[in-house]
């Protein structure tokens, strides 16, 4: 089975202080750490598990700047067979739709039975590249998948809906599946594998290889801090003092 995994290198912002840069359209990145997008790492693991079960190859593709190659090498160290970087530095005004179009023009020429992506990138949070890519390739898709079984040419898919309800469906291969976090336990790459992957070749594809006039369908005009809602009353002071205040409030409200 030929498996393609699309991944993205993203800044880790969940627990970081995120600031807007001078352009007003991007964030200051130099103090942030970057890593494989969370749900993409589950998609990669699922691809490797499928390969281990059914044989075949895992091709990892990413659109990004040169440092994306670090992330692709980790993917190779974990069990990917080949890696492709589409040169982000040669692309202008990228949005999710344009990303899907660029990916589709690259993937069209490759053999595949399954394409896996994460269900959402944590930086821009669109949740759209996989679905748009499937449509452009003319193959069926399913999103938010937390369990996946392959039988002959069919995939049995379990999608996670609201409230933990699962939707069980069957789709024919080739298909694109967007993977929800928690579907498996992503492995760590061993040091030996990382060292071995360091010398592996990463194929690069530039704007001229893709050709055509691929346009984004949106423009990011500005970033701004979210409006302050019902802001919490922040208790300040030494830990002992705030704990006394807080336990007092809890007592006063009759909760203990």
């Amino acid at each position: 089975m030929n498996i393609i995994v699309c991944i993205k290198r993203v800044p880790q912002t969940a627990e970081a202080d995120v600031k807007i840069d001078s352009s007003g359209k991007d964030i200051i990145k130099d103090r942030l750490t970057f890593d494989m997008n969370e749900s993409d790492s589950y998609a990669l693991e699922e691809a490797i598990l499928l390969k281990e079960k059914y044989g075949g190859t895992v091709t990892v593709i990413s659109l990004g700047y040169p440092d994306t190659e670090d992330t692709l090498r980790i993917a190779l160290a974990k069990g990917g067979d080949s890696a492709v970087r589409i040169k982000g530095e040669e692309m202008v005004d990228i949005d999710g739709y344009k990303t899907a179009k660029v990916l589709s023009s690259v993937i069209k020429g490759l053999p595949y039975e399954i394409i896996l992506t994460g269900c959402m990138a944590t930086d821009d949070a669109y949740s759209l590249v996989g679905q748009a890519l499937a449509e452009l390739l003319g193959i069926p898709h399913a999103t938010l998948v937390t369990k996946l079984e392959i039988n002959d040419n069919k995939a049995h898919i379990y999608r996670e809906l609201e409230g933990g309800l699962l939707e069980h469906l069957e789709i024919s291969l080739p298909a694109l599946i967007t993977i929800q976090t928690g579907i498996n336990t992503p492995r760590f790459a061993s040091l030996i594998a990382i060292r071995r992957a360091a010398s592996k070749e990463i194929n690069t594809i530039g704007a001229s290889d893709i050709g055509g006039d691929i346009c984004a369908n949106t423009t990011l005009e500005e970033l701004f801090p979210p409006p302050v809602g019902k802001r919490a009353e922040i208790l300040t002071g030494p830990v002992d003092e705030v704990a006394t205040k807080l336990s007092g409030i809890i007592k006063e409200k009759g909760l203990i």
Binding site: Y97, A132, E167, H168, L223, F224, R231, A232, V242, A243
Partner: protein
């Protein structure tokens, strides 16, 4: 039509809340653009749904067909694409839900119309669509301008609009369904209900909830001790379940449980909207987080900007002291 079309979302015979939210938004946008708001109902035996929605839209397009008995995103996409082609709405609104995520982006791509996803505000500026979206783990918002077009598609975040019922009397338009069977390449099999776990956190008065800030499974005991002291049950965010540190039945949020305790204590939780949507109706919310800009502080009543590992043991002792004094 040139107005606003809303795809009605329903599951297992019930209209979902997002539908009424979208209709509230759709009527507002219809008023602003001097057009009409049309609800699109795709279901088997639609009468009940139509009656429920009649006051909320100017028009209701109804396709009543047994093919909609089982939900199939592909059947929906084929059907809605025909409606958009024939009716040319200026804007098609779909919930940014498990259903909307499966349908929206591929539908807009099929029709080659500009679209955006997970939007939290929509403005029409000189016939062009400007949307607001939340990015970078909810820490920043972005204004996104969509390319000039006669038709747009947006998936909109649920729980972001206060529902207002309308006072309209919708014109009901019954149309034939373009497809009568599920395609061979995508078949609905069944719904599987979430497994019932050992605890039902929805019944608790006090929930002590943990997020990524807990760092490691071994640290859970600190929070467990605290929950025991205060008489609460443990809740958590999705990453804690994904890491295998707590079973799924403890997960609070859109794909987990929706809870409404008297007291919700969020420890090391940044406040992703998927989590917020599951706990925002708690009576009192207390948040402890190192990051002063964590979105959770916009939802909480009381906050402490500090490492949870420093606060929790001290707070536990204070709670125990109060309990002992009472006894």
């Amino acid at each position: 039509m040139a107005g606003i079309a809303i795809l009605v979302e329903h599951r297992q015979g019930i209209i979902r809340d997002i539908t009424l939210e979208l209709l509230t938004l759709g009527r507002r946008l219809a008023t602003e653009t001097n057009t009409k708001c049309t609800a699109v109902v795709l279901a088997n035996n639609c009468d009940n749904f139509v009656n429920q929605l009649k006051s909320c839209a100017h028009r209701i397009i109804v396709m009543d067909n047994p093919v909609f008995n089982d939900f199939n995103a592909e059947v929906y996409q084929m059907t809605v694409s025909e409606i958009i082609k024939n009716e040319s709405p200026f804007l098609t609104l779909i919930g940014h839900t498990a259903m909307g995520m499966d349908i929206g982006p591929s539908l807009a791509t099929q029709l080659s119309i500009p679209f955006s996803t997970d939007c939290i505000d929509i403005q029409v500026l000189d016939g062009r669509l400007m949307v607001v979206r939340s990015m970078y783990d909810g820490k920043l918002n972005a204004k996104i301008l969509l390319n000039d077009s006669a038709s747009y598609l947006v998936t909109y975040r649920s729980g972001n609009t206060s529902v207002e019922m309308g006072n309209l009397d919708a014109e009901v338009v019954k149309l034939d369904t373009p497809i009568n069977t599920q395609p061979d390449y995508r078949k609905f099999i069944e719904y599987i209900e979430a497994a019932v776990g050992a605890v039902d956190i929805t019944k608790a008065d006090v929930i002590v909830s943990v997020g990524r800030g807990i760092k490691d499974k071994a640290n859970l005991s600190i929070v467990e001790d605290f929950a025991k002291a205060i008489g609460g049950v443990l809740g958590c965010t999705r990453p804690v379940v994904d890491a295998g540190w707590l079973p799924k039945e403890h997960q609070v949020g859109s794909s987990g449980k929706t809870v409404k305790p008297k007291l919700y204590i969020a420890l090391g939780i940044s406040g992703a909207f998927q989590h917020i949507s599951g706990m925002k109706n708690s009576d009192i919310i207390i948040a402890v987080n190192k990051d002063p800009n964590a979105p959770i502080f916009n939802e909480a009543d009381y906050g402490i900007v500090e490492d949870l590992f420093k606060v929790v043991p001290v707070l536990k002792n204070k709670i125990l002291e109060i309990k002992q004094a009472k006894a």
